[in-house]
Symmetry: C2
Subunit: 418 residues, 2 copies
């Protein structure tokens, strides 16, 4: 036991970091939560901001507000620049913060599989700023198409390519095609938005590779019925401005290209003195600590772990929350003088992806749902877990309104001419 109150530094206020803070309470220790954003983001709905369904504040809550009832938790808005495990300090915006325990929860970032130059042509979707930029650029492309007299330019502006057929890619493609065919249908005079092309490109042989095959097939059929062109089993050879070149020679000219293909762990994982896997995730001990630094824990998307059933723990929010709570329990016990480092055990509650209006797929421990039933399940789960009561009601209202009217609440172009 120490004579002063121990200090826990938590890096990242996503699902993992926040679950830690909530569960940790005050066992006689202080917590410093560092994040580069002032808000916790409900990432599963980020695609709805990108597709003009929700506004940014509807899926975000200020971290300070969530933690205002925790006097032992300080929130620091800042960028983590360095971690020095041997000195037990982190560098935040040029200022050193020391720690007794470190919880690394910095999550993931978009990975371009060794082609960092592609980021310029195909933005990823990790932050609210990303989502707002995609929304603006997609809406502006329709405006350009309306003003254009050149047929090729018009067609290009009305084409959206989504790269990556995982849940995010499927959700984006479905929402974009609905935006064009239903929401924008009557809004233009020179163009017919129903003729917009949405192309979904997946390198693997089918969509939703982490789901059972029948659900991936169902997603593909549903998307194709909605009007999405799906390309599976074909990789991107090159990306340049408004241009996707596929292996095999097909070229897609697209006014907007969105990258939903890869996620890698934060680059700061390399500072932890631990082995990393190919995606940069930290290979932690069974209790989620770093082998040579038992005072450092890694939770969330930066954590690469196989749990005691031999299951690979996926980078989804329930896993992140479970990991955050697991580490909180360990540290609470340790600080109270009863160290007990249980191994982490992931409880897979199932996975879901929404495809569009009244369509989704869900895999709930062997039970495969599709269509309306899966969609209602998706709606229910997301409303239950959406943090913050106010947002829940506002989002439910938005969805109800959009469902009935086919209008979307957030079709506002911001920041065009600043």
């Amino acid at each position: 036991m120490m004579n002063r109150r121990p200090k826990v530094v938590v890096l990242g206020g996503g699902f993992a970091g926040l679950a830690f803070c909530k569960e940790f309470g005050d066992p006689g220790a202080d917590v410093l939560l560092v994040d580069r954003q002032n808000h916790h983001l409900f990432q599963p709905l980020l695609y709805q901001v990108a597709t003009a369904g929700l506004s940014a504040p509807e899926i975000a809550q200020p971290l300070r507000s969530i933690l205002s009832d925790r006097p032992n938790v300080r929130v620091r808005l800042g960028e983590v620049q360095d971690i020095q495990p041997d000195r037990r300090v982190v560098l935040v915006d040029g200022i050193e913060e020391s720690y007794d325990f470190l919880v690394f929860a910095l999550g993931g970032r978009t990975s371009y599989f060794g082609h960092p130059a592609w980021e310029e042509f195909a933005p990823g979707l990790k932050s609210l700023e990303d989502a707002q930029r995609i929304r603006r650029d997609v809406l502006l492309a329709f405006e350009h198409a309306e003003n254009s007299t050149d047929e090729a330019e018009r067609r290009r502006n009305m084409t959206i390519a989504v790269i990556g057929g995982g849940p995010t890619g499927v959700e984006l493609a479905g929402a974009f095609v609905e935006l064009a065919r239903h929401v924008l249908r009557d809004d233009f005079r020179s163009i017919d938005p129903r003729k917009a092309r949405v192309v979904l490109i997946e390198g693997g042989t089918r969509l939703l590779g982490q789901f059972p095959a029948d659900l991936g097939d169902n997603a593909r059929e549903t998307l194709e019925t909605m009007g999405v062109e799906v390309r599976c089993g074909v990789r991107v050879k090159n990306l340049s401005r408004n241009r996707v070149e596929l292996e095999g020679g097909e070229v897609i000219e697209a006014g907007n290209i969105v990258w939903a293909a890869g996620v890698a762990a934060s680059g700061l994982t390399s500072k932890l003195g631990a082995p990393l896997d190919r995606a940069g995730r930290v290979q932690v001990a069974p209790d989620l600590s770093v082998p040579v630094h038992p005072e450092i824990f890694v939770v969330g998307d930066a954590c690469g772990i196989v749990d005691r059933d031999g299951q690979v723990v996926p980078g989804v929010s329930p896993a992140a929350m479970q990991a955050g709570r697991h580490v909180a329990s360990i540290l609470k016990a340790e600080i109270s003088g009863h160290p007990d480092r249980e191994p982490f055990d992931y409880w897979d509650k199932g996975s879901m992806a929404t495809i569009g209006r009244s369509a989704a797929v869900a895999n709930l421990g062997g039970l495969h749902l599709t269509g309306l039933l899966a969609w209602l399940g998706w709606l229910f789960v997301h409303l239950v877990f959406l943090i913050g009561f106010r947002n829940r009601v506002a989002v439910l209202w938005q969805w109800f309104y959009s469902y009935v009217t086919y209008k979307r609440g957030a079709r506002i172009i911001l920041g065009v001419r600043e």
Copy 2:
């Protein structure tokens, strides 16, 4: 009568331009509406976006969506660069658009009374981008104060100066002080947001100069009770970064300075070949047309007119809407071959300004209301006139939630580290 369908070009999709489009219908003419934004903005609530009460899409509706049921109205997203009345063309993003009738509804912009350099230090509040920038900078200043160890720097970051004691300045000052003293109260550990300073500066002898004196006095008392420091009868001598120098020698160091003091008409009014008043407004004929160009009309904040009762028409949204509808009636008749150029007659329904939670002032044709009653009236009027059903419900919900919980829905810092 012409052989082809006449073409009306409307510049600006604010209250005046949109009221024109709605009222005009289709008397056998085509309308082109040009705006630099894709949305109509409910400007009376813009201060709520700046003070983190509402999100941007909640007070904006896409112009295309509002006008989707008007097949004869085209919307063009673009910047008006030039107007050539003699050739009857306008230049929009480098492309000429010809017109038979022109409705100039470009509104106002922030005026710094001959000190354009001050804009850098004290942003005005005219667009959603302005409001989001102010919100971000005010929230960031509290973050800086929390991290700072220098007492003077901390105090500066916790000071907001609002320049201009008209309705916008009063509304901003009231909302800022509530943000600091109630909404942010429990969110910080090193600073006490209740110690934040909000200073409201007005060059005239009292607040709300366009309202009766008793209402201006009431606004001042209410603001002072809420904790705002009000300075009347003192002008700004100089502005620089984070520093307001007043005549008389007082210096206010403020992390945020917001300019709500002056409005001038769009600079394009000078292209219309008509006399302008001191604020750059066009001195129109009684029917709102430009004297030497009866095919050009000016409506909204760019229009400087005294109506037939000798009343100066104020730059408020009801006057803008009435003017837009007036011109629509004139042109409908003219295009149908029954020219009848009635003079414009402004019907003053009264004016209101909100001060804070449960406090407002209202002048309704001689009836002076203050306090809760005025506030309820303000709430009712703004909900009734808020364009678009979806927004209305969402905004009502937000207000109800904020009222009950003292939380605000849009306390999200965006675009810090792009």
